[in-house]
């Protein structure tokens, strides 16, 4: 059965998508609030997502909510914040099994979506603020989470690199915001921001499952009707300008293996060609970076490229011994020069193309993945189907790849490393 996708407007700045595939044994709904990533509101929105996903007026404690969800065959309500370009996505999500697998014939999905609506519109409050005790715990947890970013060294290196790559741009910030701001949040301030966010931000809701359930859309529509909207416009991203001089930053922590993030900037318009270029250059285990930096020179366990099309930034990240940082950088640059000069075979192009096709087609494996695909497309203002994307991908030429590579300029080299050694 083919994937069915439909998107419609159901309110002021609110869109509802439905993706069905006839196969899924679970149903999911996410509500994405798309808002500008800013120093003032990032941490606020982060704490809001965690409070409203953890309780509601009907289920005022975490335990009562979790127990009800467990009865619904381990349904879940999840809140999160993520970064997309210069925007912060505040996501509230519910997932549950398809009703046909319920042992006692319960209407699991409808009940789970109602719980989600309750979390969204009817949080646990007292005296015009979030319930203080809950709020304090969630706030402390946010502070802990921000501090714990250092625990994962590879992603921590990215976080620190972003501060330099996107200096003075919203994308420089972390999705969870800064600790110093988080510490100042009050229950009243968070509640006020919550009301503002759900009234004014652009909203994309997506249902994914085996078959469409109109009742879910109605529950969502009712919820937002109750909220009363005052939509102020969406948040978009702009390309990041390349710096006049390459920015070099080294930071030292108590770690064994160094991490290097290199960022190249571009204003190249064709994201499909750029991703294919990245596949030839560094995104795959057959790319130039893997074959040379890892397999030939034995310098790294991982060394790969990725592309952030919202900001026009291609990055290369690697884990390397401190003594080999210079060697790795030189090889990473020299492999990019090779691509710029067209030093790759037709076979390399076709291999990269096949891998890209495989990855895009693989999206269709799950309605939930397709829903995420369309969300990213919509954010970019494109709304291409996976099939349309592949159609264009098949027509990218050698010249397109060379042009994509030549548009890249080195902007930042960030190194996270251990104590100085001789």
């Amino acid at each position: 059965m083919a994937i069915k996708y439909n998107r419609e407007k159901i309110g002021d700045g609110i869109y509802y998508s439905s993706v069905t595939d006839g196969f899924q044994k679970t149903n999911n709904i996410y509500i994405n609030f798309i808002t500008e990533l800013s120093e003032d509101t990032a941490a606020l929105n982060a704490v809001i997502s965690s409070i409203i996903s953890g309780s509601s007026r009907e289920y005022p404690t975490m335990t009562s909510l979790k127990r009800r969800l467990a009865e619904l065959y381990s349904a879940f309500v999840k809140g999160s914040v993520t970064k997309m370009g210069d925007s912060q996505l505040v996501t509230l999500e519910v997932g549950c099994i398809n009703d046909r697998y319920a042992l006692d014939g319960e209407a699991v999905t409808e009940e789970a979506v109602k719980i989600l609506a309750g979390c969204l519109t009817d949080p646990h409050i007292e005296n015009g603020a979030f319930y203080e005790k809950d709020f304090e715990l969630k706030k402390q947890e946010l502070i802990d989470d921000i501090e714990a970013e250092i625990n994962e060294k590879r992603s921590f290196a990215f976080k620190r690199a972003n501060a330099s790559i996107y200096k003075d741009e919203p994308a420089a910030l972390s999705a969870m915001g800064e600790k110093s701001r988080a510490e100042k949040i009050t229950a009243k301030e968070a509640y006020d921001q919550y009301k503002k966010l759900i009234r004014t931000a652009r909203v994309e809701i997506a249902f994914s499952g085996a078959s469409d359930m109109p009742v879910c859309k109605e529950i969502m529509k009712d919820a937002f009707d109750r909220i009363g909207r005052d939509y102020t416009g969406g948040s978009t991203s702009s390309l990041s300008a390349v710096k006049d001089k390459v920015c070099r930053v080294t930071e030292r922590y108590d770690i064994a293996q160094s991490k290097m993030v290199m960022a190249f900037k571009t204003d190249f318009q064709d994201d499909i060609a750029m991703r294919l270029m990245s596949a030839v250059y560094g995104a795959l285990p057959t790319s130039k970076l893997f074959m040379n930096v890892r397999e030939k020179l034995s310098l790294c366990y991982y060394c790969s490229s990725g592309y952030n099309n919202n900001k026009g930034v291609l990055y290369v990240d690697s884990g390397v011994e401190q003594a080999n940082i210079g060697k790795a950088e030189a090889e990473i640059l020299s492999q990019l020069e090779a691509v710029k000069h067209g030093d790759f075979t037709d076979e390399e192009i076709e291999n990269a193309r096949k891998a890209r096709v495989n990855s895009v087609k693989g999206t269709n494996d799950s309605a939930a993945h397709v829903a995420v695909w369309y969300f990213q497309e919509i954010y970019d203002g494109k709304e291409r189907s996976p099939e349309e994307y592949i159609d264009r991908l098949m027509r990218i030429t050698r010249e397109d790849i060379i042009a994509a590579a030549n548009s890249l300029k080195l902007d930042t080299v960030y190194v996270l490393t251990g104590k100085e050694t001789d």
Partner: protein, 433 residues
């Protein structure tokens, strides 16, 4: 060739099991109309299998730590090319992994599934090692080991295993150490390969839009019967106590990270292992999942945060229950868990939540049947546990009683056999780098 269709009435699903004449167990799950096919070809050979013998040897031999993982890396290199470059022609996304008790080679693809399968079946059966390629790999794996040296969640877990087990090789890092892999050479790799990469010791599992006959045709063509070496593995006897009660290491982390493990006797048979795992999971949920009063108490006191979780960890010759998370006071968390377990032994587990825990367990299992990848993985894992089916898991969960679970609490949670592992921050709280 023996062929059987295994069905689940409950799920309305089925798959085919084939015992191939070469000795290979094959599991095929057809998913009509789906885009992705996921295939796994694995051997029951992991980091713990460092002591073994075959019918050709009089005595058991011991090999360097990390060799199963090293072998996995090296199989990706053919005599004339890299295996990734073969897959590149089909567009498949390929990978491999080594765990404590298995090594698996896999691909995921949307087109050219039989070409990819041919690559998979061929390269895993055709080893090629030279001293030069072995040396090159020592550099790459050295960097992989260094990466894990900085990984606090990995370290806290292995430190706990090292504290818990005196002799069992589960305590040794899967990749070995920079020193142990330096002892590996081409001859040793061939020895291990010829011992463990025998089709009698292996499983092929595929889920996706496949034609079973075409798959079996390819198997007939490519699988090589090398005879049965009558492999035996062995472990040093493991004492019934923990080796150390506490292991502490300092790393670049924000809050202290902990693992608290309860050591227990491993079950004797495959089906008993599955029952023990499921019933122990029930115990963990009843005592300390996020719907329990105990969790709420600790959470409200700020002693744990939402990273707190528990799991059962088991395999050939080892079985333990682990509570993990972040806390400002991991020792107090341990003491509270021990006290709660003792209380539950005396006053009984929370019977009221039993049915809810069961429903949640069942719901969680249903999720795994959405896509090819988890389905093929479950088929392989259950086959390697002892020719069991993923459907056995669902049926066992459905049949578990409160009394089974209460008995498990008595049996599997000895509060004398506890190891606490802590990763402490190198800096004090609030201190900047």
């Amino acid at each position: 060739m023996e062929k059987k269709v295994i069905k689940s009435e409950r799920l309305g699903e089925q798959y085919t099991y084939v015992k191939h004449p070469t000795g290979l167990d094959i599991y095929l799950w057809k998913m009509e109309g789906r885009s992705t096919t996921y295939a796994l070809f694995g051997t029951k050979y992991g980091s713990i299998n460092n002591k073994f013998k075959t019918k050709d040897e009089a005595d058991f031999v011991t090999v360097p730590n990390g060799i199963a993982h090293f072998l996995e890396h090296k199989l990706f290199e053919n005599e004339d090319c890299d295996v990734f470059s073969l897959y590149a022609k089909t567009g498949a996304s390929a990978n491999a992994y080594t765990s404590f008790d298995k090594t698996c080679y896999l691909f995921s693809c949307t087109d050219n599934v039989y070409d990819s399968l041919e690559i998979l079946l061929s390269f895993v059966q055709n080893p090629y090692f030279t001293e030069e390629t072995v040396q090159k790999e020592q550099g790459i794996i050295g960097q992989e080991i260094r990466m894990y040296d900085d990984d606090a969640n990995w370290r806290v877990f292995f430190n706990m295993l090292q504290g818990m087990y005196l002799n069992h090789p589960v305590k040794i890092d899967i990749a070995g150490t920079v020193e142990s892999i330096a002892e590996i050479d081409a001859d040793l790799l061939y020895k291990c390969y010829n011992t463990f990469y025998n089709l009698n010791n292996m499983v092929l599992s595929i889920a996706g839009n496949i034609d079973e006959d075409k798959v079996l045709e390819l198997c007939d063509k490519l699988l090589k019967n090398k005879g049965n070496p009558e492999l035996e593995t062995a472990f040093e006897p493991e004492p019934d106590t923990v080796c150390q009660r506490e292991v502490v290491q300092k790393l670049e982390v924000a809050l202290p990270i902990f693992n608290i493990g309860f050591k227990a006797e491993p079950p004797e048979t495959a089906i008993e292992t599955v029952r023990a795992e499921i019933e122990t999971n029930f115990v963990l949920s009843l005592i300390a999942n996020d719907t329990s009063d105990f969790y709420k108490k600790l959470y409200d006191e700020g002693l744990i945060n939402s990273s707190f979780s528990s799991e059962v960890f088991l395999g050939d010759g080892y079985f333990c229950s682990i509570f993990g998370g972040e806390s400002r006071d991991p020792r107090l968390v341990r003491d509270r868990i021990i006290a709660e377990i003792e209380r539950c032994k005396k006053e009984g587990l929370d019977r009221e939540r039993f049915e809810t825990v069961k429903k949640a367990y069942y719901g969680g299992l249903i999720r795994d049947y959405n896509r090819a990848e988890p389905i093929a993985t479950m088929l392989l894992n259950m086959a390697m546990t002892g020719n069991l089916s993923p459907f056995d898991v669902i049926e066992t969960v459905a049949a578990v009683t409160f009394e089974d679970v209460s008995a498990r609490l008595e049996k599997q949670f000895d509060t004398e056999k506890v190891t606490l592992s802590i990763i402490e921050p190198v800096r004090g709280e609030g201190e900047q780098a």
